[in-house]
C-alpha cells in the first residue's frame, strides 16, 4: 500500500461508526444476550475454546492473568451477608463487543485491527507486532495476548490432540493479540454459500459457537440490517440504537419496562452487543 493510496483512502482506513453516507449494507453482525436466561453455566466459553483453537493455560498462568478465554462469564456476587453456597450472583457473558468506533483500532501502530464493512472489528494475526496497546485501550478488557508459544512450549495440543484443531482458524503463535471474532470463519463460509446462490445470508443460517452451545438460548446473533432477523427485532423492541450513546432505557422511557442496554455506552464506542437486563430475583 503506497502512502498516497493510504492518504486518499484515509476515511475508509479509519472508518468509525456508521454515518449516513456509508451505512452498513448488506451486513451488520450484532448480538443480543438475555441475562435473564443466562445461568452462568460456561457452555459458551467451552464452545469457544473448541471452535477457535484457544489454549487452556492452566491454573498458574490463569492466576497471572494470562488466560485466553475469548468468551468469559463475569460474576458479580450479591453482597447480602450470605456465604458461598447460598450466595447469589449475577452472570455476564463477556466477549469482544465489536465496537463501531473501537478504541483498540485507533491505537494500533501497524493497523492490524480494522473495521470491516460488515461491522466487525478484525484482528489480523500476521500483521500484529504485539505492542499490546489495543488491549490497554480496550474498555471491556477482552483482548488476550499470547505470552507463550502455546502449541510448542506448553504442548497444549499434544500430537493426537492437534487433530481436534479447527482448520478454519489460525493457531496463533507467540507475541500476537487475539480476541473474539464473532466466529468470522462461520460468517465467511455462510456468506460464500449465499453469494453462490445469489442472495444474502438468511437469519438463523449462521450461528456463533457460543450461541449454538447456550442451553437456554440466551444468545441471539444475526444481521442487524435485515429487518426480519431476530436480533433486529430484539434491538428494535428495546429501542436500542446502534449509533446512539444513550438508550431509551437510560432515559427511563416506557415506564422503565425496557431491558436492553449496552455496556459502558457513555464511552461512545458503540458496541454491537446488546444485553437484556435480568428481571428474576434469584441467581439460579
Amino acid at each position: 500500500m503506497s502512502v498516497s493510496n493510504l492518504l486518499e483512502n484515509w476515511a475508509e482506513f479509519r472508518h468509525t461508526h456508521p454515518v449516513d453516507d456509508v451505512p452498513h449494507d448488506p451486513y451488520k453482525w450484532a448480538m443480543s444476550i438475555d441475562l435473564d436466561a443466562c445461568t452462568g453455566c460456561n457452555a459458551c466459553s467451552v464452545a469457544c475454546y473448541a471452535e477457535n483453537n484457544l489454549p487452556v493455560v492452566g491454573k498458574e498462568k490463569f492466576l497471572h492473568g494470562q488466560s485466553m478465554h475469548w468468551m468469559r462469564i463475569e460474576r458479580y456476587w450479591d453482597e447480602d451477608g450470605r456465604d458461598f453456597p447460598d450466595q447469589g450472583a449475577q452472570f455476564l457473558p463477556m466477549m469482544c463487543q465489536q465496537c463501531e468506533a473501537a478504541p483498540c483500532e485507533t491505537v494500533c501502530p501497524v493497523g492490524a485491527t480494522n473495521h470491516t464493512p460488515d461491522g466487525l472489528n478484525s484482528q489480523i494475526y500476521n500483521r500484529c507486532v504485539g505492542s499490546r496497546y489495543c488491549s490497554a485501550n480496550c474498555p471491556f478488557k477482552v483482548r488476550y495476548f499470547n505470552w507463550y508459544d502455546y502449541p510448542t512450549t506448553d504442548n497444549v495440543w499434544p500430537a493426537e490432540m492437534s487433530q481436534q484443531l479447527n482448520p478454519d482458524v489460525t493457531v496463533r503463535g507467540k507475541g500476537v493479540m487475539e480476541k473474539c471474532t464473532f466466529c468470522v470463519q462461520r460468517l465467511t463460509s455462510a456468506k460464500n454459500t449465499a453469494k453462490n446462490e445469489g442472495r444474502i445470508v438468511h437469519d438463523g443460517e449462521v450461528q456463533t459457537a457460543c450461541q449454538q452451545a447456550c442451553p437456554p438460548g440466551a444468545i441471539s446473533f444475526g444481521n442487524l440490517v435485515d429487518a426480519d432477523s431476530k436480533v433486529f427485532k430484539q434491538w428494535k423492541a428495546q429501542h436500542v440504537e446502534i449509533a446512539e450513546f444513550e438508550q431509551a432505557k437510560d432515559r427511563g422511557e416506557q415506564d422503565n419496562k425496557l431491558r436492553g442496554y449496552r455496556i459502558l455506552e457513555e464511552l461512545r464506542s458503540y458496541p454491537s452487543v446488546m444485553y437484556l437486563e435480568r428481571v428474576r430475583e434469584t441467581a439460579v
Binding site: 464493512p117 489480523i124 500476521n126 478454519d168 470463519q185 465467511t188 460464500n192 453469494k195 445469489g198 444474502i200
Partner: protein, 236 residues
C-alpha cells in the same frame, strides 16, 4: 593488544554467524525463479499431456485438452480444488493400452496393484506434495473464484485457473509461477471487474456484495465491481 583481540573475536563471530545464516537458507531448495519451493513429486505427472493443446504434427507430444476441473473436481464446489483420487487416474488409464508399459504409468499401477517388493500396498493413495501452499493465516476459496469467472463471466477455465496457477498446461509437474503474495491478490481485488459478461449468468444486484460498496451505476457503461477488500475476507 586488547583492541586487536576484540576485533578478531568480532570478525570470527561475524563470519560464523553469516555462514550459519547461509546454511539455514539452503535448507529449502527453491525453483529457478524463486517463486516457491522445489517440490519432488512421487510421479512426475505430465500436465502438458493431459491439459495441453493438441499438437497436430506430433500427436504424441501434444495434449488431450482435458478440462482442469475434470480431475481437480472440487474447485467449483469447495474451498479447495482437491487432488484426484487414485481411482480417477486408473479409471482412464486401465483402458489406455498404448502407454501402459511406460515408466510413469507402471509406477502409477504400483500404487493400484501394490508394488512387487511389498513397499506399497495395493490401492494406496499417491503421496502428492502441495505446490501452491498458502500460509496458515490465509483463507482462499476456489469455489468463489470459479463461480465468478467461469460460470458468471463465461471465461475459459484454463484462463481463470491460470490467473494464479500460471500456464500449467505447458508444465510437467506443476511449479509455482505466481508469487501468491498479498500484493498479488490485492492487485486483482482492487481492479474493476465486469459483473457479468455476454453468455454468463446474470447476477443482478449481487455485484454490491463483492466490494461491500454500491457500484456506481452508469447507464452507458457495463456494471463493474471490485473484489472484497477487507482484511478478514482472506485472513483468518
Amino acid at each position: 593488544m586488547h583492541r586487536f583481540l576484540r576485533l578478531s573475536i568480532l570478525l570470527i563471530s561475524l563470519f560464523a554467524a553469516s555462514s550459519f545464516a547461509a546454511d539455514a537458507t539452503q535448507a529449502v531448495k527453491m525453483t529457478e525463479d524463486s517463486l516457491g519451493p522445489l517440490v519432488e513429486q512421487p510421479i512426475e505427472f505430465p500436465h502438458f499431456r493431459h491439459a495441453g493443446d493438441v499438437n497436430k504434427e506430433h500427436p504424441e507430444k501434444g495434449g488431450m485438452q482435458i478440462d482442469c476441473m475434470y480431475c481437480h473436481t472440487f474447485a467449483r464446489r469447495s474451498a479447495v480444488a482437491g487432488i484426484p483420487p487414485l481411482q480417477k487416474c486408473i479409471g482412464c488409464h486401465q483402458s489406455i493400452e498404448s502407454v501402459r508399459e511406460t515408466p510413469r504409468i507402471k509406477k502409477l499401477f504400483e500404487y493400484w496393484e501394490g508394488s512387487k517388493d511389498g513397499k506399497i500396498a495395493a490401492k494406496s493413495p499417491i503421496p502428492w506434495k502441495k505446490v501452491h501452499d498458502l500460509p496458515d493465516f490465509v483463507r482462499f476459496n476456489h469455489e468463489r473464484h470459479i463461480k465468478r469467472f467461469v460460470f458468471q463471466q463465461n471465461r475459459p477455465v484454463q484462463e481463470a485457473c491460470g490467473y494464479c496457477h500460471g500456464d500449467v498446461k505447458t508444465m510437467t509437474v506443476a511449479r509455482r509461477s505466481k508469487t501468491l503474495s498479498m500484493g498479488f491478490c490485492v492487485d486483482c481485488h482492487k481492479k474493476d471487474h465486469l459483473v457479468s459478461a455476454e453468455g454468463g449468468t446474470a447476477i443482478g444486484n449481487q455485484a454490491y456484495w463483492y466490494g461491500f460498496k454500491k457500484p456506481v451505476v452508469n447507464a452507458s457503461a457495463p456494471l463493474t465491481a471490485k473484489g472484497p477488500n477487507d482484511c478478514w475476507q482472506c485472513h483468518k
